[in-house]
Symmetry: C2
């Protein structure tokens, strides 16, 4: 098999599907593509072999028939272009699906990453409790805008696409801090996505890796 992704041997999210390999596994399952997983320990992230795959020392990466990619957005887009199922055939709907991928990664995810930085990297700082509502407000504003656009539709623009896959993957990261529950339209959207068999296969696969790491 020529398609190999990297993932954490012991993910810091404890198998809750928040690590970015989950997005890639989910896309692979939606597309019905086989893949193998190369597990890496934290210490290996900074080793030359992994930095050759990803200069920023993160997971996931994809090696596919000699091609090496390291951004989850680029990997999912590449896979979606390789097989049918996640991108509309018509040019305009296709461009709009890709637009929603970028919205997930460059409009919705940055304030969520900021909250994660605060809760993980600045948890010992006196200011974090007071800052937290400011960051959550930035997330809430964007979630409210997305809720308005989604409305009563099952998916963001017609049939389920890479746009939905990436939006849901990002929204899920705001569940732990309780933000997603404040936005019922998005909470239901995430639940709908989690009910997809491909999601469940991907979730089970990443969870099995974490459980195995605990021995």
């Amino acid at each position: 098999m020529s398609r190999v992704i990297t993932a954490f041997r012991a993910s810091p999210d404890r198998g809750r599907g928040l690590a970015r390999d989950m997005r890639v596994r989910w896309a692979l399952e939606e597309l019905g593509l086989d893949y193998a997983v190369c597990l890496v320990d934290f210490a290996e992230l900074r080793a030359p072999a992994h930095l050759a795959r990803n200069p920023f020392g993160q997971i996931p990466t994809l090696e596919d028939d000699g091609l090496v990619l390291f951004e989850s957005g680029a990997i999912v887009l590449h896979l979606a272009q390789s097989a049918k199922g996640l991108l509309p055939d018509q040019p305009h709907p296709r461009a709009r699906a890709i637009n929603w991928m970028f919205a997930a990664l460059n409009t919705l995810e940055p304030p969520i990453l900021e909250l994660e930085s605060a809760l993980l990297g600045e948890s010992d700082k006196a200011w974090t409790a007071e800052r937290r509502p400011l960051i959550e407000q930035r997330i809430d504003q964007r979630f409210a805008a997305l809720s308005t656009r989604l409305g009563a539709a099952p998916w963001i623009d017609g049939a389920f696409s890479v746009g939905d896959l990436m939006l849901v993957s990002v929204l899920i990261r705001a569940r732990g801090p309780g933000i997603l529950d404040r936005h019922p339209v998005l909470r239901d959207y995430v639940a709908r996505a989690e009910g997809r068999p491909a999601y469940q296969r991907a979730f089970a696969a990443q969870r099995a890796v974490y459980l195995a790491s605990r021995g």
Copy 2:
């Protein structure tokens, strides 16, 4: 002309080319594509006409022959796929150029946005002075990794591509706070990109809009 972008009538960056329409203008100039600009005031960003284009109320947007896109990454990718000049023809180099676009937007830009949030949105808070070095450290780590990968090469992966266009567009946002100057490999990379005639045409166009707004 069917291709219309939106931009600020009076950009908060005072015409320094940091607003996200600059990325799109630059891509259009590199590709030799004509475009018109629809200027919007801040008050119009939340008006129904603009929210129909972009539910998050931001600029830029693109309307191209009936297609409406609102993420600068998606717009630049769409344009690069519409004309020759910013994407390699071969599938592997093409996928890698797109990978660098995502790296710019989802790995490099989030900590820069976090610094902008701190300096603009939390400038009145007592903690901002103490937090600033923590955020800059996150940016420096990623800039160091990118510097190592770029090395002595003029562009990130062969010929100039959308990957370079987006990396440079993001790196420029770290010049004001003095971070870019700490990374000479990247500072020279940005200077090389700024020397491109297409960059200069795009920069002059957005600057002329700002100067006109001052009457």
